[in-house]
Symmetry: C2
Subunit: 300 residues, 2 copies
């Protein structure tokens, strides 16, 4: 049984204080799938145009990502250009070209319909619900979102959240959705929307995990090189869901905590280089090594 | 054997989104001494004017703080007024009236001269050195500083750091002193200035601890009420030094890590109310209880 992810596969252009990259492989489903692939097979659902380079498809396949659900249609692939200053927690969007993503209505292949874990990356909450309706109930449904949907499709988002076990979002989004500046209060408010578990991502400051009877705070792994923060949140989710799929204990508090550390490890690799370069250059033993470094960094 | 602190005892006026306070008890030595007093006797060295309310002196005494070194001179006590927005990590200074602090030249009482721990709170680095020269070598000398001294007395600060075992400063100060925006690199650079141990305080995002062969990252305790962040850093230092004095293992990596958690606990109490109100309303068993809550918040 696999992990199913529905999200974007994109071509990103990026500028950070440490370099540039043009039309490189990006997208929420890409980062998630590669990160999760260290732990379990991943089934991907996304859409790209016929300009999408063949080499990226080969790369996904090499990582054990099933791309039967990657729809290739006439037109241009989703493109995003962003710029980061020294405050790497906030990207300035230069442009967003939805292109073929405008017509994205995911059709879940028959072989994907029984999955243990479903991750709905940051896409239209109505599309997220449409995916949930096409699959047998997975053991864990998790979703992400973004400020655009909170602002423009709040009702649809709240409907989708009722069907979700775990909700991941960043701290600005948590404040925006709940109207609560204090993150402890915001986390509790998010649980009242339906998900039994919520994770607030704080970028370089780590993550907070909330459930009805548990609260967990994990700092981020400490790095001396951060070249491109794009994809950190989706890599985090990939590491977390991957670990949970591997462990098989989807609602164990202690396994979720460990999964959060694995998620942080994958996110830390993602940001060390542009696009998925670093993520695709590491092995499972690198992941394990950094997990143990992380333990040394945090234990007392 | 006691803990010796040299710093300021002040009257603060504060405005935060959650309230106001006028001419309340403040100052680095005050927050430090009360926090450390939960673990060990504290000897305080500071200066106040003859306008300093008798009730504050009684309060310090009630907390077992030896005030033989509190000089009371003609004139007005040091006063500071600050305002905080929702970003509680940065105060806007409305005024600083040094008053009697201008003539502060600490004379260490004979009974203070043999102390296990010396904490030099944020005062002129030449005055910090003057204190070090008046005492028998303590087992642990720690110091704090601020942007003003980094900018205006950099050489004196670097001289003082050569005599110090542990250096505590906030993240903006760490970046300013080292010229290094990345905190991992900044922490390593700070060790090259002399102190064998450095702690970078990140406010609501916790602390980083650096030594030659260890690196520790601790998130802050999570609170739903933060009324006044003034004194958090000094309360942190008080909890840390207090715990180390009690444990007696001043250079044990695992004891320093535990001490950092106790420091975070004291800081978390400090910010829950204005001035030292909350800190003076808790008992040692409250400190222990929150330490255990903190473990539940962070363990995996």
């Amino acid at each position: 049984m696999s992990i199913l992810v529905a999200g974007t596969v994109a071509l990103d252009s990026l500028e950070t204080p440490f370099g540039k990259a043009e039309n490189v492989l990006g997208g929420s489903a890409t980062y998630f799938a590669i990160s999760a692939s260290f732990f379990a097979p991943v089934n991907l659902v996304a859409i790209v145009g016929n300009d999408f380079p063949e080499e990226h498809i080969s790369l996904l396949k090499r990582h054990g990502v099933n791309i039967k659900g990657l729809e290739i249609v006439n037109g241009k692939t989703f493109r995003w250009k962003g710029r980061y200053g020294y405050d790497m927690d906030n990207a300035q969007t230069i442009y967003t070209q939805l292109n073929v993503c405008k017509k994205f209505s995911p059709k879940i292949p028959a072989e994907y319909q029984r999955s243990d874990v479903l991750f709905l990356a940051n896409i239209d909450p109505d599309v997220q619900a449409h995916v949930i309706n096409q699959v047998e109930r997975p053991r864990l449904i998790a979703c992400d979102t973004m400020n655009y949907w909170i602002e423009n499709k709040r009702k649809a988002l709240l409907r989708t959240l009722k069907k979700v076990d775990m909700f991941l979002l960043n701290e600005a989004e948590a404040r925006q959705l709940t109207g609560e500046p204090n993150l402890l209060k915001a986390g509790k408010a998010l649980l009242s929307f339906g998900p039994k578990k919520t994770i607030i991502k704080k970028g370089e400051h780590g993550v907070l995990f909330f459930s009805r009877n548990s609260l967990f705070s994990a700092p981020a792994y400490l790095l001396d090189t951060i070249n491109d923060p794009t994809g950190a949140g989706d890599s985090f989710a990939g590491g977390l869901m991957g670990y949970l799929r591997k462990s098989g204990h989807f609602s164990s508090d202690s396994e979720i905590r460990k999964g959060i550390i694995y998620g942080s490890v994958l996110a830390s690799y993602a940001v060390e280089d542009f696009s998925v370069r670093r993520l695709t250059g590491i092995s499972y033993s690198d992941v394990q090594r950094r997990y143990h470094d992380y333990r040394r960094l945090t234990r007392y």
